[in-house]
C-alpha cells in the first residue's frame, strides 16, 4: 500500500460527529457542483438549529440562504428549481413539519418524470431531523417514513453513522430523483469514521453484524439498539445478524433475503408506530418471496400513540436494547 493510500485510509478513519459529517457532505457537494443550492429556516447565518450547517453560507454565500417560515413554498420552489437546472437541498427543520411540504413532493416532484414521459428529472433533496428520545414531545419526535413510504418516485434515506450519512447524502444530491434524507436527532453527536467520501449508492443495505440465528432488519438509531441487543443475545448463545437498510426506498431486498435464507428468522425493528410502518413492507416481502425459509417473522416497533414527553413515559415508548433482546428471545 502506498503512502498516499495509507493517508487516505487514515483520513477515512478520522472520527467525526454525524452532524458534522452531514455538514461536510453538503460542503463538498456545494464545492463540487455549482448547481447545488441549500436553503432552509435558520440554516445560513445561524448554521442550523442543531448546528449541522455552520460555515456553509460563509463558504458558499450565493448558494446557501435563510428562508421565511414557508414550508409549502420551500418545497414547491425546490421542484421548480430542480427542473430548471439546479440541484436544491432544502432543510425542513423537523420531520414533523413535512406534511406542509408534502403536496408538492407528492403531486409535482415525484410525478414530473413520469407524467412528462421522461422529459425531465427532478434532482432535489429534503433533509429533516427526525425521531424520538430527545424529550421533545409529540410534535417534534416523529418518524415520518410511514407518511412518505407509499409514494412512487421518492427515495428515502435513513443513515445510522457518520460515514454513511456523508456518503448517502452525496449520493442523494447526485441522484436525479426527489430524495427525503432523514437525520436522527439522537445520532447527531454520534462519532464514527468520516469515511472515504465516496457516494454510498441509494438502495444498498449494510450488514452491520453477522450472525446465524436471527436477522434483525433496521435503520438509523435502531441499528445501534439492534447491535446492543445482539450483544445481549450473544451472551445467550444466539447469533443475531443486523442489517442496516440505509435506504428505506429503494429497499435492498437481496441483502435481507440472503440473511433470512441463512437464519430463517426475521425481526424488523422500526422506530415508529407499529401499524402502517415500513417494517410491515419488509415482512410482506418476506412472506411473498421467502415463505419457505421462514420459521419466524415479526416486528418490534413503537406503540400506536403519539410520543410522550415525560422521561419514564418516553423511555417506555421506545424499546431499548434489553427489551429488544428479551422480545427476540421470547419470540424465536
Amino acid at each position: 500500500m502506498s503512502a498516499a493510500t495509507d493517508a487516505a485510509v487514515e483520513a477515512a478513519e478520522t472520527t467525526i460527529e454525524l452532524r458534522k459529517a452531514i455538514g461536510l457532505a453538503l460542503d463538498e457537494e456545494l464545492a463540487r457542483d455549482e448547481r447545488v443550492i441549500f436553503y432552509g429556516e435558520d440554516v445560513a447565518v445561524a448554521g442550523g438549529v442543531f448546528a449541522v450547517t455552520p460555515g456553509l453560507s460563509e463558504r458558499h454565500p450565493d448558494r446557501v440562504f435563510d428562508t421565511p417560515i414557508s414550508e409549502m413554498a420551500m418545497a414547491g420552489a425546490a421542484f421548480g428549481a430542480a427542473i430548471t437546472g439546479l440541484r436544491p437541498v432544502v432543510e425542513i427543520m423537523f420531520g414533523d413539519f413535512l406534511p406542509l411540504a408534502m403536496d408538492s413532493l407528492l403531486n409535482q416532484a415525484t410525478k414530473h418524470w413520469y407524467i412528462s414521459d421522461g422529459q425531465g428529472s427532478v434532482p432535489l433533496v429534503i433533509r429533516s431531523v427526525v425521531g424520538g428520545g430527545g424529550r421533545f414531545g409529540a410534535i417534534h419526535s416523529q418518524m415520518p417514513i410511514a407518511w412518505f413510504h407509499g409514494i412512487p418516485g421518492l427515495k428515502i434515506v435513513a443513515p445510522s453513522n457518520p460515514a454513511d450519512a456523508r456518503g448517502l447524502l452525496k449520493a442523494a444530491i447526485r441522484d436525479d430523483n426527489p430524495v427525503l434524507f432523514f437525520e436522527h436527532k439522537r445520532l447527531y453527536t454520534l462519532k464514527g469514521p468520516v469515511g472515504d467520501g465516496e457516494p454510498v449508492p441509494l438502495g444498498s443495505a449494510a450488514v452491520a453484524r453477522e450472525g446465524g440465528d436471527v436477522t434483525i432488519v433496521t435503520a438509523m438509531k435502531g441499528v445501534h439498539d439492534a447491535l446492543a441487543a445482539a450483544d445481549i443475545l450473544a451472551a445467550d448463545g444466539i447469533g443475531a445478524e443486523v442489517i442496516d437498510v440505509r435506504t428505506i426506498r429503494p429497499l435492498d431486498w437481496p441483502t435481507i433475503e440472503r440473511s433470512v435464507v441463512k437464519t430463517n428468522r426475521l425481526i424488523v425493528l422500526e422506530e415508529g408506530p407499529l401499524t402502517g410502518g415500513w417494517a410491515g413492507e419488509v415482512l410482506a416481502l418476506a412472506l411473498e418471496r421467502s415463505l419457505e425459509h421462514l420459521d419466524h417473522g415479526s416486528r418490534i416497533a413503537t406503540p400506536n400513540t403519539p410520543v410522550p414527553y415525560s422521561p419514564p413515559l418516553e423511555d417506555d415508548h421506545f424499546p431499548g436494547a434489553e427489551r429488544i433482546a428479551a422480545l427476540i428471545k421470547e419470540r424465536i
Partner: protein
C-alpha cells in the same frame, strides 16, 4: 405558419388574433371530442380567456418558462406547444406531447418552456417561484410566469410564494386570471378584500388589466418582464376575464348571475380582437383567410389525432429517473 413558429419574437396583430383563434377552436374541438367519447375524464376549457395567455406569451423570450393550471390548453398553445401534440395528448395517443401519460390537467412541454399544467390549485405558483429562483441563482435574464385563477388567491401557496418572491426579488410574473369564479362559487363571496391588495401589502407592483384586451395584457406583461429581467423583482397582474363555458365538463352553470354571460360574451376576446383589427385597418379578407386556415389546420390536426397510435404500457418511463429520457 404554425402557432409555434414565433412565440418569442415581435408578434403582429393578426398573428395575435390567429393564436387566440387557434385556442378557441381547439377548445371547441375538445368539447366536441369529449362528447364524442374521444377525450376522457374531464377538461377545463380556456374559452373566453384567450387574450391573457396569448398576450403574455407574445412577450416571452427563449429561456423563459411558464407554469399553467389544469385550465392549461390556452397557455400551452400560446407558448408554442404543437397543436398536434396537444391534441394527440388529449386523445390519449402515443404521439401526444406527454405520450398520453399526462392528459388535459397535467401537460408538460419543457422544450417550449411549459414546465407543467398543475392540477393542484396554487401548484403553478410554487413551481414558477422555484424556476425564478433558478434563473436568479444562475444570473440568467429569464423570467418565470405563473398562471392561476382568482380563487387561488385564498390558498397557502399564493401567500407563501408571493412573500418569498418579493423578499428575494425573483424574476417572476404572477398572472392572476380573474374569471370571477372558483368552479361554481363566485370568488368575491369567499374572498376578503380585493385580490390586488394582497400583493400590494407585500410591496409587489400589482396592476389590473382588461384580460380580454390582448394588447393591454401585452403592454402590462412587457413592462413586468422588463422589471424582472432588470433584477427588480416580481410583478402581479390581475387580468379580468370570463370563462364562456363550464368550469369543467360536468358544470351545471346555474351559478352565473342573470345577464352575466351575455354581457361577457359581448366583450369576449376573439370577437373584440377581430373588431379591433378591422378598426386598425386590417383588411377583412386577410382575417377571413386566417380564420379559414385555422379551421382547416384544426380539422387536419383532429383527423391525424384520431388516426394516431395508442401508447404501449411497456414504454413506461418507470418509477425513477436517471437523467432525462428525451
Amino acid at each position: 405558419m404554425t402557432l409555434t413558429s414565433t412565440p418569442n419574437v415581435a408578434v403582429s396583430d393578426v398573428e395575435l388574433y390567429r393564436r387566440m383563434l387557434v385556442i378557441r377552436q381547439f377548445e371547441d374541438a375538445i368539447q366536441r371530442l369529449f362528447l364524442d367519447g374521444e377525450v376522457y375524464g374531464t377538461t377545463h376549457l380556456y374559452s373566453g380567456q384567450e387574450a391573457v395567455a396569448v398576450g403574455v406569451a407574445s412577450c416571452l423570450r427563449d429561456g423563459d418558462r411558464v407554469a399553467a393550471t389544469y385550465r392549461g390548453h390556452g397557455a400551452a398553445l400560446a407558448v408554442g406547444v404543437s397543436v398536434q401534440g396537444l391534441m394527440d395528448e388529449m386523445l390519449g395517443r402515443a404521439t401526444g406531447v406527454c405520450g398520453g401519460r399526462a392528459g388535459s390537467m397535467n401537460i408538460v412541454d419543457l422544450e417550449h418552456g411549459l414546465i407543467g399544467c398543475f392540477g393542484i390549485v396554487g401548484g403553478s405558483i410554487a413551481a414558477a417561484t422555484g424556476v425564478a429562483l433558478a434563473f436568479q441563482q444562475r444570473r440568467e435574464p429569464s423570467v418565470a410566469v405563473a398562471f392561476f385563477g382568482d380563487g387561488t388567491s385564498n390558498q397557502g401557496y399564493f401567500h407563501e410564494c408571493l412573500n418569498l418572491a418579493q423578499v428575494r426579488r425573483l424574476p417572476l410574473l404572477f398572472v392572476c386570471e380573474n374569471n370571477l369564479y372558483m368552479e361554481y362559487t363566485a370568488t368575491d363571496t369567499i374572498t376578503a378584500g380585493a385580490i390586488l391588495d394582497r400583493p400590494r401589502a407585500m410591496g409587489i407592483p400589482a396592476y389590473q388589466v382588461d384580460g380580454n384586451d390582448v394588447w393591454a395584457v401585452q403592454a402590462a406583461t412587457a413592462d413586468a418582464l422588463g422589471r424582472a429581467r432588470n433584477n427588480e423583482g416580481p410583478t402581479f397582474l390581475e387580468a379580468m376575464t370570463y370563462r364562456l363555458v363550464g368550469h369543467s365538463r360536468s358544470d351545471p352553470g346555474a351559478y352565473r348571475r342573470p345577464g352575466e354571460l351575455d354581457a361577457w360574451t359581448a366583450k369576449e376576446p376573439v370577437r373584440v380582437t377581430r373588431a379591433a383589427l378591422l378598426k386598425r385597418g386590417v383588411d377583412e379578407t386577410e382575417i377571413t383567410a386566417v380564420e379559414a386556415s385555422v379551421t382547416q389546420e384544426l380539422e387536419e390536426v383532429i383527423a391525424r389525432a384520431l388516426q394516431a397510435p395508442w401508447p404501449d404500457p411497456a414504454t413506461s418511463p418507470g418509477e425513477f429517473a436517471n437523467g432525462a429520457r428525451r
